[in-house]
C-alpha cells in the first residue's frame, strides 16, 4: 500500500512538471489527466475511495473535457505553440522558479520539524462521508448548491456572444 503511494506520487509530480512546461495546450491537458489519475491513486492508498472516484469522474472526466472543448473551439494551432516557445525563455521562468523553490524548501523544513509519526491507514467509507456531509455540513452543501447555480448563470451570461440588436429607428442613424 505504501509502495503504491510512493510510485503514484512520483508519477503525479513528474506529470505536473510536464504540464507546466508544454508548449501545446492539448499536450498539457493530456499530461494533466495523467496527474489527476495518479492523485486519485494516492487518495485510494490513503484510504479515501470515495474521493478517488470523484477525482476521476469530476476532474479527469468533466473539467478536462471542458478545457478540451475550449481548446478545440479556439482552434489553437502550431502558431500558438511557437508563440509559447518564444514566451518560455529561461530568463522568464528562472526567477519565479527559484523564489518558489525557496518557499518549497521552507515548507518542507517546517513540515520536518516535529518528530515523525506514522499514520495508520484505515478506509473511510462513503457511508461515513455521506452521513457527515448531510448531517453536520448540510448548510455548506446548500451553499455549494448556490455557488454552482451562480457559476452556471455567470458562465451562460459571460459566454454569450452578444449581437448588437438596434431598434429599427436607430439603425438608420448608424
Amino acid at each position: 500500500m505504501s509502495l503504491l503511494f510512493y510510485i503514484s506520487s512520483i508519477v503525479a509530480i513528474l506529470a505536473t512538471i510536464m504540464v507546466i512546461t508544454r508548449h501545446q495546450p492539448i499536450h498539457a491537458l493530456l499530461y494533466l489527466v495523467v496527474s489527476f489519475m495518479a492523485i486519485s491513486m494516492i487518495f485510494l492508498s490513503l484510504g479515501a475511495p470515495f474521493s478517488a472516484v470523484l477525482e476521476v469522474i469530476v476532474y479527469a472526466g468533466a473539467i478536462i473535457v471542458l478545457f478540451i472543448f475550449v481548446v478545440m473551439m479556439l482552434n489553437l494551432d502550431k502558431e500558438t505553440a511557437l508563440q509559447e516557445k518564444k514566451w518560455l525563455q529561461p530568463k522568464v521562468w528562472i526567477g519565479p522558479s527559484i523564489l518558489a523553490l525557496v518557499l518549497l524548501i521552507e515548507m518542507i523544513l517546517l513540515l520536518l520539524e516535529p518528530p515523525s509519526e506514522k499514520m495508520l491507514v484505515t478506509v473511510v467509507t462513503p457511508r461515513q462521508v455521506a452521513l457527515s456531509l448531510y448531517g453536520e455540513y448540510i448548510i455548506a452543501v446548500e451553499l455549494g448548491g448556490f455557488l454552482l447555480m451562480t457559476g452556471i448563470v455567470g458562465a451562460a451570461h459571460i459566454g454569450k456572444h452578444t449581437k448588437r440588436n438596434l431598434h429599427r429607428f436607430l439603425q438608420n442613424n448608424h
Partner: protein, 102 residues
Amino acid sequence: MSSIHAHTVLIVASILFVLGLVGVLTRKNVIFILLSIEIMLNAAGLAFIAAGAKWQQPDGQVMFLFILSMAAAEVSVGLALVLQIHHQHKTLDVEQLKELKD
C-alpha cells in the same frame, strides 16, 4: 495494513502546490494559468485528504468535495471569460489585456 508518514503526503502536496504556483507565475497564456490554478486546488485537496486520513475522520473528504464543487464553478466561469477574451481581442496573452488599466 502498512503505514505512510503524514509528512510525506504533506510534502507531496506542497510540491504539487509549488509547481502550480510556478505555472501561474511563468506562463502568459490564460489557458495555462487556469490549468495551474486547477493543479493548486488539487494539491490543497490532497492536503485535506491527508489530514482526514491521519485522524480517520470523514471531514477531510467533505472538505475535498467542497473544493471540487468550487473548482467546477470557477473553471466554468473562467473558460467562459477565456472564450469572450479570444472573441474580442483575438489573443490569449495576459499582458495585452490591459483595458482596465486606465
